[in-house]
Amino acid sequence: MNCSPAHGLTRPIRFFAGMGRKYGVEWWILCTGATVILAIILMAIFSPVIAPFDPYLQDAGPQLAPPGAIHLMGTDNLQRDVWSRIVFGSQTILLISVLAAIISSFFGILLGLISGYAGGVVDRSLSLVMDAVYVFPGLILAIALAAMFGPGVLNITFAVAVIYIPTYFRLVRGQTLAIKQELYVEAARAIGATSFTILSRYIFPNVIATTVVVFTLNVADAIMIEAALTYLGLGLPPSIVDWGMDLAMGKKYLPSGVWWLVTFPGMMISLLALGFTMLGEGLAEILNPRLLER
């Protein structure tokens, strides 16, 4: 039996290199994105282990200390450790943006399938509303919703989720319309398949591949919207650690040259969004090269 560790490693290496040759740059974009996401997910899961300080602890060090050996990313005005807040903040943003994308994809796909399959008045009225919401600036809608709902993790999640429903709706509806005309769907109908069977067995599986790409890009967007809302002071109570809120707080001290309070949270938001965008772009090129060009 040849079980040396080197032998165990060659197979994955060969797989990665093979994919790299097959798809070129796109494969490496995908891998980079996945690595970034994985790192931040690990950071969120093992926050208590990774963070050297309690993110709420108010006398972790001197006030507004620049980055150094003890405080990797410095301290804020309330003497809290910025790096620890970054580590714990990853939980908030990941939870909200991924949950929001799940909620909006659920409703968007469902409504899109129904609208595209049913046609007629249902389709026309749903499409009109969805199109109107689609062209309306999502952030403004989210701001209005977040203001109406008040602060809270679930509230901000819903506020972010609502604005992406039309994206999924339009995508799924269009594909449903096309697939509905396919011969195999006609055939299924001819042998007496119910609408539910046709939707769940024939149309849904065909739609899901492209939805995966849109989902990934949607999470990237949701990350930036979530952070935007909290940056504007909406959506979350101050008792929660969040990158957007830290950014807003750091903004106050920027004119006095305190750069570390804005640089690090913003960098993390960009990095996380970049991770999901790269994953999405890579997937799109590999699954369906024409998807993003529309």
Binding site: P137, G150, A227, G233, P255
Partner: protein, 338 residues
């Protein structure tokens, strides 16, 4: 020309249902969603009697369909109600703030278009080279940098470390806008008054916010332009033009870009949403006294009529710009007119 005119009329009429739906969506979001605006406005702990009074004053205790009809009726008369915090017509407040936002978005868009379209076209022409990859990477990275963070970083570098540019407001402390204000577009106003020192001041205040907005959005335009240019460059008429001895640069940046511009234009209508979202965040970062800052200020003050008014104006702007885009579309593309 007759055809073009007829197209513009019919396209304008088609805007009406869209506006109506947008207004309805806003109505639904602000009135039917869980959460009572009045108690939210009064802080949630106000006595029952005060809440009731306020509801009456705002007409919120009437049946929904009457409220809805009243809401539309008033908008038709450009009446957005009166602020609850300040004794001021909402329309008036908005006309005061709107030019600032338009000035910012106009220059932001200009920077985006120039940068995005040029870089995208260049990348498509040089496809599969290092330069192409670098530009594509720029597009992806820039897209992922939140506009508010980019604003803060530019403030840090150019405003604080280098101290070249101001980081807040539309004018410096020694400039009084009332001296030259006419239209509210300060750059235009100072130009009309030939007030050069104020013009310079207004201009340097515009640089950072406009670049922040423009750079962030340019990422998307790089990608759109590149993708569309790649399609167009494959077209036979490009090869045909080159076969007639027309210079490559002229073919790429003339023939091809003109054709690629049509789908880009269609997409531009959709990017308006991003532009406005970006403007709100940029205004907040740069203390730019426009619509976005107004909206946020009034949200903190819970000034319900003003919030509604601002959102309505944004909706109207969206509808207007998409109309404008379609008209430009018809002017550029002869196939639409006939």
């Amino acid at each position: 020309m007759r055809n073009l005119f007829r197209y513009i009329i019919s396209r304008t009429l088609m805007t009406i249902p869209m506006v109506l739906i947008l207004l309805t969506v806003i109505f639904v979001v602000l009135r039917l969603m869980p959460g009572d605006p009045v108690s939210a406005m009064l802080g949630g702990h106000a006595p029952e009697k005060v809440i009731e009074q306020k509801r009456e004053q705002l007409g919120l205790n009437r049946p929904m369909h009457i409220q809805y009809a009243d809401y539309l009726w008033k908008i038709c008369h450009l009446d957005l109600g009166e602020s609850m915090v300040l004794q001021q017509e909402v329309t008036e407040t908005i006309t005061e703030k709107l030019p600032a936002t338009i000035e910012l978005t106009f220059f932001g868009m200009l920077i985006t278009l120039v940068l995005g379209i040029f870089l995208g076209a260049y990348a498509a022409d040089k496809r599969r080279t290092m330069r192409d990859s670098a530009i594509r990477l720029y597009g992806i990275v820039v897209y992922c940098i939140p506009v508010y963070w980019l604003g803060l970083m530019l403030q840090l570098v150019f405003g604080i470390w280098l101290d070249w540019l101001p980081i807040a407001g539309r004018t410096g402390p020694r400039i009084f806008p009332s001296d030259f204000e006419r239209t509210g577009f300060y750059l235009l106003d100072t130009l009309l008054m030939r007030d050069w020192s104020s013009f310079g001041d207004v201009l340097i205040h515009l640089v950072l916010p406009a670049f922040t907005l423009g750079l962030t959005l340019s990422g998307i335009f790089v990608r759109l332009t590149r993708a569309n240019m790649l399609d167009v460059l494959k077209a036979d008429y490009i090869l045909a033009a080159e076969s007639r001895g027309i210079d490559h640069g002229k073919v790429v940046y003339g023939h091809a870009l003109k054709n690629a511009f049509i789908p880009i234009l269609t997409m531009m209508g959709l990017q308006v949403a991003l532009l406005m979202a970006g403007a709100i965040l940029t205004e907040s970062t740069f203390s730019w006294p426009g619509m976005g800052r107004l909206l946020l200020e009034r949200i903190y003050l819970r000034d319900y009529p003003t919030i509604q008014g601002v959102i309505i104006v944004f909706a109207l702007l969206v509808a207007f710009i998409s109309l404008l885009v379609d008209i430009i579309y018809a002017v550029v593309d002869p196939r639409i007119r006939y």
